[in-house]
Amino acid sequence: MNSIIKYLKDLFGGIKTLLTGMMVTGYYFVHPKEIVTQQYPENRKTLVMLDRFKGELVMPHDENNQHKCTACSICEINCPNGTIEVISKQTETEDGKKKKELDTYIYKLGMCTFCGLCVKVCPQDAIEFSNEFEHAVFDKEKLTKTLNHPGSSLKSKQTAQ
């Protein structure tokens, strides 16, 4: 007799737990306002990235096409996996002193791991992360970027202050 009671108890107890589960899913089915989906390409205009989001390394240029990078290569040394390549050139200033200047700042987006060390160690705050995340391309070569704009130059001390 006990076994029959247990049998029935198992049966009805089991059914009860199943119904409890169905209540949960049923609740969400009849409450469409619980839907959390963000419809990405449609909401592109309104989509705001959180400001610290690390999407891509950029080098800000001001309106005179000037950046702050002095080509000191600290970022290149600190980068754990060689994402950054700073190519500098020697130029002579008016007073005859030799001066190192940025030629090309190569950034391999396809390798970057967004650890943030480069931005952290940069003594000039010349680089920063942007919120851009739409990078997908068909051609791998497109992922190697030159950060300094063509014809850009170092921001002079006076304008910086």
């Binding site: 199943l18 969400y28 089915f29 839907i35 989906t37 419809q39």
Partner: protein, 362 residues
Amino acid sequence: MAFSIYDLTAFNQSIHEALVQNLSPFWALIVEMTIIGLVFLLFYAIVGLFLVYAERKICGFIQNRVGPNRVGPYGIFQTIADFIKLLMKELIYIKNADKFLFNLAPFIVIIASFMAIAAIPFGLGLHAIDFNIGVLYVMAVSSLGVIGILLAGWSSNNKYSLIGAMRSGAQIVSYELSIGLSLVTIVILSGSMQLSTIVEQQRNCWFIFSGHIPAFIAFVIFLIASTAETNRGPFDLAEAESELTAGFHTEYSGIKFAFFFLAEYMNMFIVASMAATLFWGGWMPFHIPGLTSFNHVMDFIPPFFWYMGKTMVVIFLMMWFKWTFPRLRIDQLLKLEWKFLLPINLFNIVLMALVVLMGWHL
């Protein structure tokens, strides 16, 4: 009766007569059959595509998301896109596979579901064949599908497939019994196996109400067993994704896979139709004895909509199961059948016989 305005028998008759007058009897038959075949084919395709779409949307809403919405308004063309894609996909032939059986398996699965649909009454005068053994016929034909699954699993020469096929075989044959026995319960109540008669008998009160507790138990068992029979929901061991990748159709690609996929949904539709027909009165409108005006209002909803509505409710229940429950293990699955459903079912049959014996169902 008000719903006789939707009686299609006369319409069918007129077509039939027009054909007989103009053609020889043999050709008349052929033309008639062709028309029916094409109509059913169309119906089959539409239902299949719709069910896939419905499942996606329903599971989407259950899961707090919107589901497909980029192909056409609300994504209604999603399944058509899927179909075109699958049709334009390469078919892979497996080395060492038994090619003949490998190709045969989808045929068997699809044909089993297609033949079963022939006997289902969709509305007043809307069925292709009206057997006097309709219930048994549907059961018999749909039980052939399992052979397709077994052949698919074996001929793929793949371990996952074989395990999946064996599981599926054991599962389907076991639950076949429960389906059969719960149908027996209804046959006791109605005293007929002809589907049109069974529907007709539910004119005033659906069997799930007039059959008291036994009919309800039979309905629950039928629902569980048919979910298992169609390899769905918590019983999808044959294609248990987390264990056997894709189960018995692991090696099938492109359109052949699509047929297995389609057959799953069609089988679901067939069992849901059977549930609606046998327990919920098929295309019969909902009537409350005594409330004449209410009954008349109900009568003005066309039978086909009644039928589809009831079927969709059952299908929705099955989808709800699928998206809620964890999957059973194979031994639990068989335990459920042999130690719970089968004894309860046998007991239930005796109970129903008692009900009929005492005349309580009237």
